[in-house]
């Protein structure tokens, strides 16, 4: 009997094999967990996922589909034993009986069989990866002109296993594939090895077999005279143990579901990408923003499906500029059937149209919320009003400096200015022009041509949705409008009117859950991650009979800052797209809903926003934030870090914290994260519970 070898990696196997090559005529490899690894711990998860897909297609309960499969499989295995074979079952036989059990109408059998087969292969392929070292070993064996065969105890037919190997790009290494299902003989009984030797006309001493199972791949191989090698990869075994534990914990719900899910995503990404050097912004997109945006997109898809199931389907999806840009790109990678479009809308063009009936004092002071406001000049920028026409009239009402900040919002001069009919006539005339162009633009993108339209955007107040309804809601063809936001925080408006529904998928302040409000603590980073590279829309104009957006000029100071940041944003978005690809593959497999994943994602965002690493603080504060509300200002994402000495001046410190877009980044110089924790607690005390 040959040596019972235990070797720890492919390098050792090669070292053992090299001096013995003369006596070897064939190399036999186990496939699963030897050449191919799995992103998920249990192969049963693939079968469960197939059952869910069948359930969706046929309307039969997933558990019933699963039970039917188990029943057929057990029957086939029992029959094989009765016929004197090992307890093996072939997928093609299983499929025929399983489909017959599920579908009474025989003419539908072929289509259902095809669907199940493709789904199973797709999901299997999605869960498997080729172990890098194994591939190097196979390439070396081929260089030695030694044939390699695959030997697997597997329920898939040989040709299906070949298809899997083809999809993984390694089928050409193998001259033949022996699968227990084809012969109804397993490695675990030694009979598949005997069969292989018989078919090839070889003796056991001519063959070396390598596999990860000490019984099937070593003991039984050695029993028939083949040199069996047990590949004992400690790290891989540990990883599988952890995966299994993670899957068990996921049964408990809460964050454990998301943790299991994102562990699978991380493993998948690592296996496919670990050799690539990646920039910080790519990694940040992949590991922080990627999970948040992916779960948002999944939530969006679920809501669209719910609408369709309730026979109130969304007919058109409008991704709102500029932060709907990334969502539109992500949506395009899905098999979504709803027509979608990226629309050039901004708070600026919407508010400009809203002045068609004149400008009220309430509307005016919106421009003063910005701490860097320049009085009436800011009002003109926010509402797209002509400064040169209004300036002389403002002077008559006592505004010597048109750009002087107005801190007293109840200023009598301001009231007099707004009550001046000449002022309101100019504003109305301008507003009506804006409104007419906006209306034509909306008609052009099919906004009024559908009964049910959805707006998709990052958030926060739903200004665009609110003003659209206000400006055009009286039209008979105004659609039922659904707003799906990454985070919805309606601080400015409460009433959106009839047939105008808003929902925040990752965060909705109306749900009153303090734990989920984390996106609102650092809105700017989510906007940066999702935004388009184009400038904001400041107006519309006519060109060749069509209405086209007018974007802010590249010469504007805030646009200059944006252009400088665009390459970093592009890297972040590449990372997010990368995450989304793996997210989809794992989601298909696990079937988890966005609601199940959200608790973990909130924890992930809490870590990123409240407890950033030094690298995150250093790199992210390179970004500058701009807004589309008519101002030209840029907002730095963090000010100078807080030091121990600052604690001696609590008032100044508080002021700095209040003004900072990313407060928690200020504690960068204080180690351990304790300062962040203490400030977080203090802050949570001050906000509405």
């Amino acid at each position: 009997m040959p040596d019972k070898l235990i070797l720890r990696d492919w390098q050792q196997i090669r070292g053992w094999l090299e001096p013995r090559l003369q006596g070897v005529r064939l190399i036999s490899l186990d496939i699963f967990d030897t050449v191919l690894g799995r992103y998920v711990g249990d192969p049963e998860e693939v079968q469960r996922a197939v059952c869910r897909a069948v359930s969706q297609r046929t309307g039969i309960d997933a558990e019933t589909v699963w039970q039917a499969r188990q029943h057929v499989e057990q029957a086939l295995r029992a029959e094989a034993i009765q016929a004197g074979f090992d307890h093996e079952c072939r997928y093609s036989s299983l499929l025929a009986r399983w489909v017959a059990a599920l579908e009474k109408e025989e003419e539908h059998h072929y289509a259902l069989k095809h669907f199940i087969l493709q789904t199973e292969l797709d999901l299997e392929a999605a869960t498997l990866y080729v172990k890098h070292d194994a591939q190097i070993f196979m390439a070396w064996v081929k260089e030695q002109n030694l044939p390699i065969i695959a030997m697997s105890d597997m329920y898939l037919d040989g040709e299906l296993l070949c298809e899997l190997l083809r999809r993984k790009g390694i089928v050409d290494y193998f001259s033949f594939v022996y699968v227990s299902a084809d012969f109804k003989l397993g490695k675990y009984s030694g009979r598949l090895f005997e069969k292989m030797l018989q078919v090839n006309g070889l003796e056991g001493k001519d063959v070396v077999h390598i596999g990860d199972n000490p019984v099937s791949d070593r003991r039984m191989a050695c029993r028939v005279g083949i040199q069996g090698i047990w590949l004992y990869e400690k790290a891989e075994l540990r990883r599988r143990e952890r995966q299994t534990l993670s899957a068990q914990m996921a049964q408990r719900g809460g964050i454990w579901v998301g943790r299991h899910f994102f562990e699978c995503v991380a493993t998948r990404m690592q296996q496919q990408d670990n050799l690539q050097p990646r920039s910080f912004f790519f990694r940040y997109g992949r590991e922080v923003l990627g999970p948040a945006f992916s779960v948002f997109m999944q939530g969006l898809q679920e809501r669209l499906q719910q609408q369709a199931a309730a026979e109130q389907p969304i007919e058109k999806l409008l991704f709102v500029a500029r932060d709907g840009f990334l969502f539109e790109r992500l949506y395009r990678t899905t098999a979504g059937q709803i027509p979608s479009e990226y629309v050039y809308l901004s708070r600026r063009v919407i508010t400009a149209a809203a002045t068609a009936e004149g400008l009220s004092w309430e509307q005016t002071i919106v421009a003063f919320y910005n701490p860097k406001q320049h009085g009436l000049e800011s009002v003109c920028k926010v509402y797209g009003l002509p400064q040169e026409t209004l300036q002389p009239l403002a002077q008559q009402h006592g505004f010597e400096d048109f750009a002087a900040p107005i801190h007293q919002w109840d200023d009598v001069r301001l009231h007099n200015f707004l009550n001046d009919q000449r002022v309101q006539t100019i504003i109305r005339r301008e507003g009506q022009k804006h409104r007419a162009l906006l209306q034509r633009y909306l008609e052009q993108v099919g906004f009024f041509a559908h009964q049910r339209v959805a707006l998709v955007d990052i958030g926060w107040n739903g200004t665009v949705q609110k003003f659209l309804k206000q400006a055009f809601g009286q039209r008979a063809d105004f659609p039922v409008l659904h707003g799906y936001y990454f985070a919805f925080v309606p601080k400015l408006y409460a009433d959106f009117g009839e047939n105008n529904v808003c929902e925040g998928i990752v965060h909705d302040s109306r749900r009153g859950n303090a734990c989920e409000r984390i996106p609102a603590e650092f809105e700017e980073i989510f906007e940066q991650g999702a935004r388009s590279f184009e400038a904001t829309t400041i107006a519309y104009r006519e060109a060749n009979g069509r209405v086209v957006p007018v974007l802010k000029a590249d010469s504007a100071p805030d646009r200059q800052a944006e252009l400088a940041c665009n390459p970093l944003v592009a890297q972040m978005q590449q990372g997010i797209m990368h995450h989304w690809e793996h997210f989809n593959a794992v989601q298909q497999l696990t079937g988890y809903s966005s609601q199940q994943l959200l608790p973990y994602v909130h924890g992930l965002l809490e870590r990123a926003v409240v407890y950033p690493t030094s690298e995150e603080t250093r790199e992210l504060t390179q970004l500058v934030h701009t807004e589309d509300f008519g101002h030209d200002h840029v907002l730095a994402l963090a000010n100078q870090s807080v030091g121990w000495g600052d604690l001696l001046h609590p008032r100044q410190l508080l002021r700095r914290l209040e003004l900072s877009a990313w407060r928690y980044a200020l504690f960068d110089r204080i180690p351990t994260g304790m300062a962040n924790f203490a400030f977080r607690m203090a802050y949570l005390h001050t906000v509405k519970k």
């Binding site: 040596d3 019972k4 070898l5 235990i6 000490p214 070593r218 003991r219 047990w230 004992y232 400690k234 075994l237 540990r238 143990e241 534990l245 914990m249 408990r252 809460g254 964050i255 454990w256 943790r259 994102f262 562990e263 991380a266 590991e287 922080v288 859950n513 303090a514 734990c515 989920e516 608790p599 973990y600 909130h602 924890g603 992930l604 809490e606 870590r607 409240v610 407890y611 924790f677 977080r680 607690m681 203090a682 949570l684 005390h685 519970k689």
Partner: protein, 60 residues
């Protein structure tokens, strides 16, 4: 980046000490104990190492 349950538990404590609600991304003490207990058990009772020794004796 996969977060450890202990870190999530720590982050959730800030909510527990302020708004009184820290459940949404807290793993829960019981579940966390099960997690770390099982990890410890896997470390101490190393089944894969036991298998290796079994194989080694068999080989001998």
């Amino acid at each position: 980046m996969v977060l450890s349950p202990l870190k999530l538990f720590g982050y959730a404590l800030a909510f527990r000490f302020s708004s009184g609600r820290g459940r949404c991304f807290s793993p829960g003490i019981k579940a966390m104990l099960v997690w770390y207990g099982t990890r410890l058990r896997l470390l101490l009772l190393d089944w894969s190492a036991a298998k290796w020794w079994r194989g080694w004796f068999e080989a001998g």
